[in-house]
C-alpha cells in the first residue's frame, strides 16, 4: 500500500518537471513550427545562471526567478538572431522543414561548448533549498519531501499562470491566433513576429524553471554533458508528443502519464527498463494516436 502511494508520488513529481519541459517544446512548436532540441541546452544554461546567483546571494529563491528570466532572454535572442534569419532564408524547398530542426541540434552542441568554456567541464553542485528527506507516516517514509512538495506546487502555479495568460489576456489571444493562422493574424493587425519571440521567451522561462527544479530534485550537480538534462529533453519531448505537440493541457497530461508510467516500471519491474518504456510509449502513441491522446479539437483550445 505504502509502496503504491510512493510510486504515485514519485511519478507525479517527475511528471511535473517533465511538464515544464513539454510546455517549453509546445510553446516553441506552436509559435514557429520548430521542434527545439536546443531546449535542453537553454535550460542548462539558465540553470548555470541560477548557480551563479546562488554563489552571489546564497539564495535559491532569488536564483529560481533569475534563471527563468535568463531562460527567457536566451530564448528570445535565439529566436531573434538565428530562427528569424533561418525561416526567412530557407523557407523554400526540401530544406525548409528540416533546416530549423538541424539548427537547434547544432545550437545544443554550441550552448554546451559555451558552458564548458566559461564554467569548465567539472561537476558544479547546486544545493537544494529544502530538505529532500521524505515525510514520515508512522514507521514508513513517504516519497514526498518538503522539496518535492514545493516542486509540485511551483509547477502547478506556473501552469495555471500560463493557462490564465493564454485564455484570459490579449497577449494570450494574440499567441493563439498567431499559432493557428499567422496570415490572418497579420491581416488583423497582430505583430506576429513579436508574438513569436514572446512565445520563445515563455518557453525559455519554462525550461529555466524545469532545469532549476530538476537539478535540486536530482543529483544536485551541473555539468555541460549532464545526463539529467538530456533525459529532461527526451522525456519532455515524449510528453509533448503524447499530448499532441500542439496543446499545453496535452503537454501537462502527457508529462504526468509519462512520469507515472515510468515510476511504476521503476518500482515494480526494474530500473533497467525505464528508458525502453519511455520510447516504447512514444512509439505506441505515434502508432495508435499520432495526434496525441487528447483530441485535436479540445487540444488546440489551450
Amino acid at each position: 500500500m505504502i509502496q503504491l502511494l510512493n510510486t504515485l508520488l514519485i511519478g507525479i513529481t517527475a511528471g511535473s518537471i517533465y511538464s515544464l519541459m513539454a510546455i517549453a517544446m509546445v510553446l516553441v512548436w506552436r509559435s514557429t513550427r520548430v521542434v527545439n532540441f536546443a531546449q535542453a541546452g537553454m535550460a542548462l544554461l539558465s540553470t548555470y545562471f541560477g548557480y551563479e546567483v546562488i554563489q552571489l546571494t546564497h539564495s535559491y529563491w532569488i536564483a529560481l526567478p533569475v534563471a527563468m528570466l535568463a531562460g527567457a532572454v536566451v530564448a528570445s535572442a535565439i529566436e531573434l538572431i538565428i530562427m528569424r534569419l533561418l525561416l526567412k532564408h530557407s523557407s523554400q524547398g526540401a530544406i525548409a522543414s528540416i533546416a530549423p530542426i538541424i539548427a537547434t541540434l547544432g545550437l545544443l552542441g554550441l550552448i554546451k561548448s559555451v558552458i564548458g568554456y566559461f564554467w569548465g567541464n567539472q561537476d558544479l553542485s547546486l544545493e537544494s533549498p529544502l530538505s529532500n528527506v521524505g515525510f514520515t507516516l508512522g514507521s514508513d517514509t513517504l516519497a514526498i519531501s518538503p522539496l518535492k512538495l514545493f516542486i509540485i506546487i511551483a509547477v502547478a502555479f506556473l501552469v495555471l499562470t500560463l493557462s490564465f495568460i493564454f485564455q484570459k489576456t490579449n497577449l494570450g489571444l494574440a499567441l493563439r491566433a498567431s499559432a493557428y493562422s499567422p496570415e490572418i493574424s497579420r491581416l488583423a493587425g497582430i505583430k506576429v513576429d513579436l508574438v513569436r519571440t514572446i512565445g520563445w521567451a515563455l518557453a525559455g522561462a519554462a525550461g529555466g524553471a524545469a532545469g532549476m527544479l530538476q537539478t535540486a530534485n536530482g543529483t544536485g550537480t551541473l555539468s555541460p554533458d549532464s545526463l539529467e538534462f538530456s533525459l529532461l529533453l527526451a522525456f519532455g519531448f515524449i510528453a509533448a508528443v503524447i499530448g499532441g505537440l500542439d496543446s499545453l493541457v496535452g503537454a501537462v497530461i502527457g508529462a504526468l502519464v509519462l512520469g507515472l508510467v515510468l515510476a511504476f516500471v521503476l518500482t515494480y519491474i526494474g530500473g533497467s527498463l525505464v528508458f525502453i518504456t519511455a520510447f516504447v510509449l512514444l512509439l505506441v502513441i505515434l502508432l495508435i494516436r499520432p495526434g496525441g491522446i487528447i483530441s485535436q479539437k479540445a487540444g488546440r483550445r489551450a
Binding site: 490579449n170 494574440a174 491566433a177 496570415e183 497579420r186 491581416l187 488583423a188 493587425g189 497582430i190 506576429v192
Partner: protein
Amino acid sequence: MSLIIENLTVDHGAIRAINDVSFTVKKGELAALIGANGAGKTTLLRTLSGLNKPTHGKATWSATNLLHSKPEMLVRHGVSHVSEGKSVIPELTVEENLEIGALWRSNKKEMQQSKKTILDLFPRLGERLEQRADTLSGGERQMLALGRSLMSKPELLLLDEPSLGLAPLVVEQIFQSIRELTKSMGITILLVEQNAMGALKIADVGIVLNLGTIAVTGAAESLIADPAVRAAYLGY
C-alpha cells in the same frame, strides 16, 4: 483621400502576374475588380495589403505608401484586407475572431464599442459568440471575416471574393451588407469578385482585369451595359 495605383507590376517568379496597372478609387467609392480566373485579381489585392512584394510601381492610400509595408502596420493606417475563402480562424470562438481585429489598439473600451456596432450589423454573430468559428455556416463565416475587419475601423477595405462558395441567396445578403458599409460608414472598398455581375450591381465603378493588365474601366452601370464586357465577362 483616394486609393491611387500607378504603373504597378508584380512578378511571381518568372511569371508577370500584374503588368503596368494604374487606376484610382475615390474616397467612399465601392470599386469592383473583376476578371477571369488567373487575371491577377488576388495578386493585386495581396500586393496592396503587403502580403506580396511588387516588382515596381506605386500604390498609396492618402498619405500611406501601401507597397513595402507589412500588413500588420497597414491595419494601423486604416487599410484592412479580408483574404480569400472566409478569412476566419476556425479554432477560435466567434468573439475571439472579432477581438483579434482590435487587439492592436489595446483599448478595451473601444474594443467593446466596436464589437457592439458589429453585432448590431450582424445580429447572427451575436447569437454565436461562444461558438468556435468552424461551427458557422459559410455565410456566417463571411460575416465574421467582415466583422473582424471592421473591428480595426478601416477606411479602406480590400475584399477578396466574399461570394466564394456561398449559396446565391447568401451571396445577395453579403453583397447588400458590403454596399451598406460603403454608404453608412463611408468606407472605401476595393472588391475582387469572380461573380462579376453581382459585384458590378452594387459597385460605383468597375475595373476589368485581363491577364494582368486593365482591359476596361468605367462606371459600373456603363460596364453592365457594354456589349463587349457583357459577352466577355458577364456571360451573356
